[in-house]
Symmetry: C2
Subunit: 491 residues, 2 copies
């Protein structure tokens, strides 16, 4: 097999890199830090988009599109936001090139300098809230529930395909509300939506929680997060939903007349998930043979490979396969029939394992005689010979089973990797020798949080919503703590 | 009515501008030349995208995503392309901002100057063909049929919402083939696909043809176009499909081993439609009351307005309406029930006329008694009282009828606006007093083409595919001509 992967135990990071490239998901481009999302990878992203978009619309959101460019001065208007976002970014300074007078290609035309530089959006709060000022006058204009699918740019120094790239694709929701309570409810509604998407579609279990002040979105009063666990024991922040209070409304002067006719500042939320989810999906389930995709997001759920020596055998197999694919269509099961003659079945088996196709059907001359086919599932790598009759029903159930199984496997792993500790020695020991999430008491101060980070590289991933408050002592300072929080090393 | 439009006869250009803004389709942003596509406008664009994407996939294409940025040097590699595209564009020169030492907000950090400037893609041939070099080795890797949905930037000096904006949304297909013949077939397949989309979904009749050398895409050997006619008698280029020969393969050194093992350069096509189609859609059908949308692209096809004085009347009407909407859902007819109490029915009628909703249903107390409702169609502005029983079937047929009728209306107008002329006086007279397309003999030289443009502002929109060759004399030079070509003033 030409496309062998580095194994996870040998070098997890190299395994990931190999997998993304060899499974044709994405590759680095000629532009530093920017990736090319290849057709197979993009097909998975499209499935994610379609499902998320459906969920946004079912909860009353509409899509719109705002400019790629943000005037530099907009960033200075919200004090925290400028610190967080206006630094490492792509800056447009000119709007024209010209032929080099010395004959060497083209050069920037100094006469075409912009009066004010434009920043490629790293996130769109500023340009959107500048627009909302004209859209919102009365309480009748609220709530405004808008989402945007877009590309954004953050000039990252160390990039990794899908996980951290200079340009990435995402959706960003920006909502406006008449009351604080309603904005908080929206923030929570979305983090629940993200969590449902991650668990039901990506089959990735996540922990919902609040970020600490240090880890909050620049400009937010509260940031909700979903945190997933990768197979190397590191956490991956997979989606965030921010309660922005009235910060952006004040920065961009967005007021509305309430029912009593009194002017008030509008309450805001913003929330997003990105192509980073691709990284989470890949790392959560895949193995040393390649990708493992949940059936709900696989570009095709079934691949069918004919096994034959002579042309007439292929014809007979293809006839049978056509009958099967007709039935699959009837159940909305997506498939690919790979009858190309330039590769042996063994090569194809390895290729589709690498690409994570949930179910493989193989059919040879003996199957024709017996009215059977061989069905292999990617998640368990097990095979079974089954009758062709009712194969569609069999496959439909199998896909449900695979979806559930890979979720359960990821959940079992995640549960086994949440460790409660009560001393800082235990804390460091777990991080070093086991990894995963560490549930520990924390005194609530930034000082302690930063010291722990300095000493262990672990950060507070979130204050989990699902755990009960519990009195205790901070694992680091020994000061009183009212709850355990979730620490981990992270991407 | 607060939202009155300028009439078309008074000022067509102002009418268009008013309509786009008052119907909530788009607006100018704080960034020069960049638009905000508002939710109602974006919902129409999403319907266009969904249908086009389906048609691309049905013809074997897959989606992918390439970087927003293109290294400056890439543009110099294809000689014609650089002339056409590398001039008016957004140039990224720096990757960091810093706090102004003098305390005035943020400024560009001179230490963060890029070694090579990056251009925001005006079109992606260069970066894509640079990538294809690694994707294509053998004839087995071909054809490569890739599409991208993306934003692009061309620094236009005079912009108009949807029709010409600095940033716009589009799809760009980039295909690679083993033979010239196959690439030409692809180019033609796509122009036919665009034409089918324009006519069947947008209800906009188009003329397919070839561009002259002057009007070709920079870097193409042939450009196919679809040309639509607007109500002011001007043509609008609505989509193009380019046969690129081996130009980009040679510029980026993309070769493949053919079946005999010999290395050859790859053959290329590219093709695109953009948010400019929104402009075509708006201008082709709308009237002085507002938008007229074809049912196949309307965000909602039916609006239902209750007419009542008292609360209990509304309750009784709503109950009846719910029964109707259940039936509409069963037929996949999209609708909006507007029972908001802060506007009078008359205001709502005008509002939904402005927004081009194909069918309006009104229901009042008398309708309740009679088991009827009032159905108004937007295209003809006619009303009819119809029984509520079987209303879903009635509406379904009506939507088909409206779709056909607005196409037919646009086609009749377009046909009446194609004028054959044989002298240059006639030519000028038609352009001045009638407008529309002028079918005239042309001697095939750029010189004549440019002189005609200079004297009349008319350009050759295309060499139409559908007309027979016909011997004649050039309307301008009197030299022999083998065919008539299509002239018009244009957007």
């Amino acid at each position: 097999m030409a496309k062998e992967l580095t194994s996870r135990s040998e070098n997890y990071s190299q395994w990931y890199q190999d997998l993304v490239i060899k499974a044709d998901l994405a590759e680095n481009s000629a532009v530093r830090g920017c990736m090319v999302v290849k057709p197979y990878g993009y097909a998975i992203w499209e499935k994610m988009q379609a499902q998320l978009d459906k969920m946004f619309k079912e909860t009353g959101h509409v899509n719109a599109y705002f400019p790629l460019f943000i005037p530099k001065s907009f960033f200075s208007k919200e004090a925290d936001h400028v610190e967080g976002f206006a630094k490492e970014c792509a800056v447009v300074t000119h709007y024209r090139l010209k032929n080099d007078p010395s004959g060497n290609g083209i050069v920037v035309d100094d006469d075409a300098k912009l009066e004010e530089e434009l920043i490629i959006r790293p996130t769109s709060e500023t340009i959107i809230w500048n627009t909302y000022r004209n859209w919102i006058q009365s309480h009748r204009d609220l709530p405004l529930l808008v989402n945007q699918w877009a590309n954004v740019v953050r000039w990252e120094m160390r990039t990794r395909l899908f996980l951290r790239t200079a340009e990435f694709l995402w959706q960003e929701g920006h909502t406006a509300h008449a009351t604080k309570q309603e904005a908080i409810e929206e923030t929570e509604k979305i983090i629940n939506l993200y969590s449902e998407f991650a668990e039901k579609y990506m089959a990735v279990p996540v922990i919902k929680g609040l970020k600490t002040e240090n880890e909050r979105f620049a400009g937010a009063l509260d940031t909700y997060t979903i945190e997933a666990l990768m197979q190397d024991g590191k956490a991956l922040q997979s989606g965030t939903s921010h309660f922005l209070g009235q910060n952006f409304a004040k920065a961009f002067d967005v007021k509305f007349a309430n029912k009593e006719g009194k002017e008030e500042y509008v309450w805001a939320t913003s929330w997003g998930v990105s192509t980073r989810l691709m990284g989470a999906l890949i790392m959560a389930h895949s193995d040393d043979n390649g990708l493992v995709l949940p059936p709900k997001l696989a570009p095709y759920q079934v691949v069918i490979v004919p096994i034959y020596k002579k042309g007439e055998q292929l014809a007979a197999i293809s006839e049978k396969v056509n009958a099967i694919t007709e039935k699959l269509k009837g159940r909305n099961i997506s498939f690919k029939y790979d009858d190309k003659d330039n590769r042996k079945p063994g090569w194809k088996f390895a290729e589709y394992e690498l690409k994570g196709v949930p179910v493989r059907i193989a059919m040879g001359p003996r199957d024709l005689e017996n009215g059977t086919c061989e069905v292999a599932r990617r998640d368990t790598l097990t095979k079974e010979v089954v009758p062709v009759e009712n194969i569609d029903e069999y496959i439909e159930k199998l896909l449900v089973d695979i979806q559930e199984n890979i979720y359960k496997k990821a959940l079992d792993y995640r549960e086994s990797m949440i460790t409660k500790v009560d001393t800082f020695d235990e804390f460091k020991d777990v991080l070093k020798n086991k990894g995963g999430f560490v549930l520990a008491h924390w005194d609530g101060t930034s000082e302690t949080e930063l010291k722990i980070k300095e000493e262990t590289k672990a950060t507070i991933r979130c204050l989990p919503l699902e755990y009960e408050n519990e009195e205790g002592k901070c694992v680091y300072s020994g000061n009183p703590s009212s709850r355990r929080v979730l620490f981990a090393l992270s991407y």
